[in-house]
Symmetry: C2
DNA sequence: GCCCCGTTAATGTCAGACCTTTAAATGTCT
DNA sequence: AGACATTTAAAGGTCTGACATTAACGGGGC
């Protein structure tokens, strides 16, 4: 592991990259302990602060975890599903919110992905998944629910659908797609009428899953997609022009 | 934005979280300049090094970018698609490689997601996408190709399929699923016979896309999935037992 | 045998200094 | 006046050395 002191890049970034490469390539494996900060500073011939900044970068990506005290240090971290979920959601949310991604594009992607779960979920969903969905549907019918709470419940319902596929990798991938839509959905105001329509579509979805009918599940999702996009179009048409400034990173 | 100096968490982590929240919530928007390191140190009542560690954490997630010199500083970064792709791929790859995710689970997720693209890709793929796929198929038929190059070409082909859907959000989500499989695929040794079978399935896939036949595209993907899993099973059966150590993060 | 306590090796934090980069402001020449 | 060179100040990047805080280990006292 070597760095180039003449490179224009920050030393701490170079060091972080070197260590990250070692982890990704398998030179360092889960549970391995990195040398102490002082030793790393020696090895790379930089100060301890520089090493620390590098380690903080890696910690931010959950690649390492640090432990204080004697026999502490930095350890290669096992990336857990919850951590991966969280990163996935943050990245997806920011990507959508910062790039003026149109509602249509995001919505299309989300429902396409959800439909991918439909056959698996229809086959494998447990009674628990179904119960969660029914509970959320019931909540969505309550009067006096704020738009935000309605959206949150919507997310919970769709996550239950996704989790029904019983494939953690799929759940992980979908978490970003579903959750990242929430801020966009939150811009919509839901009338009583549109809530009723959505609840009815959700019920169709739950019924299809209960009957383990993959095709009907997919159809219900498609109809839900269609309805959501129509609803959004009527709301967004107005304020869609002004966007995209031009500060961005220089050449 | 405040931090709790009595919390057990590192100050730099708390500060990073505070700033991250401000970005995610929209209090800080793209192009905004953060206060200088010295000012932040003042505000949070910590030293400059602590602030710097916090900023490096954010930089590692591409949330901010720093610029040296007068009128430089830390700016809220627009998360670009390439950056998001890269993070997505790193996270997915590590998640798979560190959690003893079974080939079957990963493979199932990947093909389920790809099938989600099938209808869109069949409808929208350009001649370019098709040409890329044909070129990769041709490469895959070349004798003397290493297993690794074969896998890389496989990834390129599948990315073309995904990109054919012309939905950048979908491409972004799928990038992780497709690329993260590569290390797992690399463990497989491909015989001439199995390469021929895969090339033939790839050809069917390309033909289906050329004919804009969504159903046949999905069927070809399903057959490819079935074949891939069979192939993997024969290879992995042996060395699947020993895995999962128990160092991990303490309670 | 068990509990308490010091030792020690780590990370976490701080303070201050200096280097490097960058762009704006100023000055100078044509 | 305009083009070019120079100065300057603000900001991040790095280094040094110190101290604080943790936590596992080992030893002593009961």
């Amino acid at each position: 592991m070597k760095i180039d002191p003449n490179s224009s890049a920050d030393l701490s970034a170079q060091i972080a990259t070197a260590i990250r490469d070692a982890i990704v390539s398998g030179d360092l494996i889960v549970c391995d302990r990195l040398p102490s900060e002082a030793e790393l500073a020696d090895q790379f011939d930089v100060s301890r602060s520089t090493v620390r900044e590098a380690l903080k970068r890696l910690a931010a990506q959950s690649l390492i975890r640090t432990q204080r005290g004697a026999f502490g240090g930095a350890f290669v971290n096992r990336l857990s599903y919850p951590e991966a979920y969280a990163q996935q959601i943050t990245t997806s949310t920011l990507l959508l919110s910062m790039n003026a991604v149109s509602f249509d594009v995001a919505c299309e992607a989300r429902f396409a992905l959800e439909r991918a779960c439909a056959p698996l979920s229809a086959e494998r969903r447990t009674a628990d998944h179904l119960a969660t969905m029914r509970a959320e549907i019931h909540r969505q019918g309550q009067p006096g629910l704020t738009d935000e709470a309605f959206c949150a419940s919507d997310v919970a319902l769709h996550r239950a659908l996704v989790d029904g596929a019983q494939n953690p990798v799929l759940s992980y991938q979908l978490a970003g797609a579903v959750e990242a839509m929430q801020p966009l959905m939150n811009m919509i105001t839901f009338t009583t009428r549109s809530r009723e329509a959505i609840v009815s579509l959700h019920t169709r979805l739950a019924d299809a899953l209960e009957a383990r009918d993959a095709d009907e599940t997919a159809r219900a999702l498609s109809d839900l997609e269609r309805y959501t996009r129509e609803l959004a179009r009527s709301v967004f048409d107005a304020r869609d022009a002004a966007r995209n400034s031009a500060c961005d990173t220089p050449a």
